[in-house]
């Protein structure tokens, strides 16, 4: 538009007309340096259109609609009716909800106990080994490459109480047999074990990347002061990583709250509802009972819950994350 206009007014465009120092024979200034070039308005919005269309339909609108749906009753046939807080009341009256919340929190706690320290230790050790660095990285990351469904189906075999790999292998050592997924007390830890195996690799790589940014002089100084290797890890490495550690901890908490594939495929919430998680309950309400209103209400509550957790977490760690 403006550029085209400018072109027409010039006899021939300079081959390197961009050089602002080149004086133009035209009275039009080549470029106004203080004000950025005029914005091609129409083009801007045209380029933005795909983004606005996809985000509008598939991100912004569904978020708004979730909130609307949570106050409505809808069966997809008749027009939806407003039901006020009924969906939330029904939800809170469902005894399975509290089991579900307990299960999910239990999963999150276990996943942090297994899954938070392990990648840190692996990354610290891996960064100190002089050989096979690339090989270690590949080996550690391999489980992440496996599609989650395939991973879960594999582990179903490993966990099988009668002809599973784990019981067979532990049997050689004289241990077990363990019920793994078949018992209410071991089912959830079994899911956590699988989920940790599946996720740890990418976290290790993130920590490895962060470790390379720890300045060597700090270790040098610590060593001169007589700090042992363990003390250097404790007093130099971990404090230097704390920014990444804090973010990863939050991301891990938020991610594990949304656990779905593992309980869905491995246990379908059993035995005796001991592995029904929040997302599995949302799925059941929506796609098995056809109660989209209650499903959305639970989704909204989960979003609020995660929001509160993030806000509290960021507040609590604010002082600590700064230097």
């Amino acid at each position: 538009m403006t550029t085209q206009h400018r072109r027409e007014t010039q006899d021939r465009p300079h081959p390197m007309a961009a050089e602002p120092g080149v004086p133009s024979t035209q009275e039009q200034p080549p470029l106004d340096r203080r004000r950025p070039r005029r914005r091609p308005l129409l083009a801007g919005w045209l380029f933005l259109l795909p983004l606005i269309a996809t985000f509008g339909c598939f991100a912004w609108w569904p978020i708004v609609r979730s909130v609307v749906l949570s106050f409505q009753s809808t069966n997809l046939v008749d027009a939806p009716t407003w039901v006020g807080m009924d969906n939330f009341a029904n939800l809170l009256a469902d005894p399975l909800l509290w089991t579900t919340v307990r299960n999910t929190v239990w999963f999150v706690v276990l996943a942090l106990l297994f899954g938070f320290p392990l990648p840190i230790m692996l990354a610290v050790v891996m960064s100190e080994l002089r050989r096979f660095g690339g090989l270690f990285r590949v080996l550690v990351y391999l489980p992440v490459v496996v599609p989650p469904v395939v991973a879960v189906l594999m582990w179903k075999w490993f966990y099988d109480p009668d002809f599973g790999l784990f019981n067979e292998a532990l049997g050689v050592l004289g241990l077990g047999p363990f019920p793994w997924l078949q018992d209410t007390s071991t089912a959830m830890p079994s899911l956590v074990l699988e989920a940790t195996w599946a996720a740890a690799g990418s976290t290790v790589l993130i920590y490895l990347a962060a470790l390379t940014s720890v300045p060597g002089e700090l270790y040098e100084a610590a060593e001169i002061d007589g700090a042992t290797i363990m003390k250097r890890i404790w007093h130099v490495t971990l404090p230097q990583l704390r920014g990444v550690l804090l973010i990863m901890l939050l991301l891990q908490i938020l991610g594990t709250f949304r656990i779905f594939t593992e309980p869905f495929v491995l246990t379908d919430g059993g035995p005796e509802d001991s592995t029904v998680t929040i997302l599995l309950l949302i799925y059941r309400y929506a796609f098995i009972y056809g109660d989209y209103g209650v499903a959305s209400a639970l989704g909204v509550l989960l979003a609020i819950g995660l929001g509160v957790i993030s806000a509290v977490y960021l507040r609590l760690t604010r002082k600590w994350s700064r230097t």
């Binding site: 801007g44 391999l142 002809f163 470790l211 250097r232 990444v244 979003a303």
Partner: protein, 289 residues
């Protein structure tokens, strides 16, 4: 790793001490064994299971080598379980999602970073805001929206929502922001319109970031399970990941494992070939996400 920087936690002097040296060797050996067992073991188990008779799995799970190697399992899975067909479905879904993601992220980021229309900042803020709302929360509403647009069972039900990927827009915009402004001005003075600027200058310069976003998009799409399961109910058009759990309940088990192997191989090859890009993408995701 430690070669990248001057020194690590353990110094050269430490490394010369026999105690430290031997414990490092020990740690190295143990770690190699453990990561091989944990990382490679399950893959090898799948490969073995795919060419074993089902009886092996039931009678002797610890067996390292199949009692009789059955390559025909793979062929049977391909034709009888139609693993090939489901794999093609996956490829179509992942390919389309990849294209939509790249299209939306590049055009959108170009508009936000280079053309900067009025209210662009507002739009960008709204895009970033979706990063804080976990997608699974609005799952039900998304399903109803897709239902309203009568996209259910069509690949568009997977392709289009894939485009609403805030993280892609974020890293793409940051990359475009880093390109030299003089370049845009030069092109505009030379008479290039926005489209030419986008296609001939910005895109060719963005190859590294396009590679990272593409790899992440493909890997992510390949792993996707919940959304394709909800959005594509027709068994015939389901991707492999959705079909496998269903097949696992009825089909011959060694054929199911062969199907699992087929589902692992493409992302595995992609990872082994493009390791560096993916590792870079991961560290980026973690630090910025």
């Amino acid at each position: 790793m430690s070669e990248d920087r001057g020194r690590g936690i353990v110094s050269g002097i430490d490394r010369r001490r026999p105690g430290v040296r031997w414990s490092l060797h020990l740690v190295q050996g143990v770690l190699l064994l453990a990561t091989a067992l944990i990382g490679l073991g399950p893959l090898l188990w799948t490969a073995k299971g795919a060419i074993s008779p089902t009886q092996d799995l039931l009678r002797d799970p610890l067996r390292l080598w199949p009692s009789s190697v059955r390559w025909e399992n793979l062929a049977a899975a391909w034709t009888e379980l139609r693993v090939g067909h489901y794999l093609l479905n996956t490829v179509v879904l992942v390919g389309g999602s990849w294209f939509v993601q790249l299209f939306v992220a590049t055009t959108g980021a170009f508009a936000l970073s280079v053309l900067r229309p009025r209210f662009g900042k507002l739009v960008y803020g709204a895009v970033l805001a979706t990063l804080f709302v976990p997608g699974t929360v609005s799952l039900v509403a998304l399903y109803l929206t897709v239902l309203d647009l009568s996209l259910v069972d069509s690949p568009w039900a997977v392709w289009l929502p894939a485009g609403a990927h805030a993280f892609n827009v974020l890293i793409m915009k940051q990359f475009f922001d880093g390109l030299p402004k003089e370049l845009y001005q030069a092109a505009q003075v030379d008479g290039a319109g926005s489209v030419r600027l986008f296609l001939h200058i910005v895109l060719p310069m963005s190859r590294p970031i396009l590679a990272v976003v593409s790899l992440l998009a493909v890997m992510e799409g390949w792993k996707d399970f919940l959304w394709p399961m909800i959005a594509i109910t027709d068994a015939d058009t389901q991707p492999l990941a959705v079909a496998l759990p269903r097949l696992a309940e009825t089909a011959e088990q060694n054929q199911v494992i062969a199907g699992m192997l087929v589902a692992i191989i493409p992302p595995l090859l992609l990872f082994l070939v493009f390791q560096r890009h993916i590792v870079r993408g991961i560290s980026f995701t973690g630090l910025k996400g």
